[in-house]
């Protein structure tokens, strides 16, 4: 057990985090070069104030018309994304590891709150899955990759929940949790999960074009 644990929190963690960080930097440079080569004029549209305005406005639940149009989706997606980021970053057990390995700490969530937020992430994943299967428009743009991503995103939370409550074999579950979490990180740059960073630029572009060129709101 000690050997496996040492491997997953040692070399495997460096590889997972390394691919995530280097991959994201590569992807951002690649997308910028692609835009420069194929659609140079679009770069001239970019405006920082309109970009930030659009990102800010779309960060408010039920403000944009599209948020009002799909209330269930709006609730699910806001809850999902907030919990998805907050739980892994502010979980006491994770901060304990940051402190042990790098000597740094920050604020933590009470375990009870993190537990409910984990359930919210899992519930949102179920909601997204049901929607993909039943909503005609969503079904039309869904491929097997979307299902794999949904499973990939849910797995660190499902295994984390089971490990925290020590349901089934704890040692197996905690290793599975670490491995699935690292796989999740490493695959962000190479899947649709890259919207974690690229989504901001998509929003920024829309905000810039609508604001600076068309002089209209983009929400």
């Amino acid at each position: 057990m000690v050997e496996i644990y040492n491997f997953v929190v040692g070399p495997l963690a460096w590889v997972g985090w390394g691919i995530f960080v280097v991959g994201i930097i590569y992807k951002l440079i690649y997308m910028y070069s692609l835009a420069r080569a194929k659609d140079y004029s679009s770069l001239d549209y970019m405006s920082l104030p309109f970009s930030l305005r659009s990102i800010f406005v779309w960060s408010i639940p039920f403000y944009a018309t599209n948020w009002k149009r799909n209330p269930a989706m709006t609730v699910a997606t806001f809850l999902f994304h907030i919990c998805l980021i907050a739980v892994p970053v502010f979980l006491l057990a994770h901060v304990v590891l940051w402190q042990k390995f790098f000597g740094i700490t920050w604020a933590t969530l009470p375990d009870q709150a993190a537990d409910y937020m984990t359930l919210a992430v899992i519930a949102a994943c179920v909601f997204f899955g049901v929607r993909r299967a039943t909503d005609l428009r969503a079904r039309y743009v869904t491929s097997y990759k979307d299902w794999l991503i949904l499973i990939l995103v849910a797995s660190p939370f499902v295994t984390g929940f089971l490990a925290y409550h020590q349901i089934f074999n704890y040692k197996f579950m905690i290793i599975l949790h670490i491995v699935s979490g690292l796989a999740w990180l490493a695959l962000i740059p190479f899947t649709r999960l890259s919207h974690m960073f690229l989504g901001l630029f998509t929003r920024a572009y829309a905000g810039s074009e609508f604001g600076k060129v068309r002089h209209v709101k983009d929400w």
Binding site: K100, D111, Y170, K171
Partner: protein, 124 residues
């Protein structure tokens, strides 16, 4: 009156004085330091005597220490961890880290014993 009975009585009293506290201390079965206040996780399971027998630890030093000199623990009286390690501190090792390091570093080094959260913080 000869001094002999008096010395014997005094000696017996002295033995009782030191022996009773030594045996009356309850066996340590878990680490639940009250310094933490409201605990987030179940107390770490730790059977002091069984652990030391299994790990073949004779002295107090591998764990109980009075500070560090030149990177090595200095032996001292078995004082409470919280006497020196504060729960929240910018200087030195905070209490929770002290506990975690104390157990985990040794287990990692010896490649024996629990190293992940739930192996120690077991749910009842």
């Amino acid at each position: 009156m000869s001094k002999k009975p008096m010395i014997l009585i005094l000696a017996a009293a002295a033995v009782l004085l030191f022996l009773l506290p030594a045996f009356s201390q309850e066996d340590i079965k878990q680490l639940a330091d009250p310094a933490f206040g409201q605990a987030q996780r179940p107390a770490a399971v730790f059977d002091h005597d069984a652990h030391n027998e299994k790990a073949a630890i004779d002295g107090c030093l591998p764990c109980h220490h009075q500070g560090v000199e030149e990177g090595r623990f200095v032996e001292g009286d078995p004082v409470k961890c919280a006497d020196c390690h504060e729960v929240k501190t910018a200087e030195g090792t905070p209490l929770m880290l002290a506990y975690h390091k104390q157990c985990e570093d040794c287990h990692l080094e010896k490649k024996k014993g629990p190293v992940t959260c739930g192996e120690c913080h077991k749910r009842p």
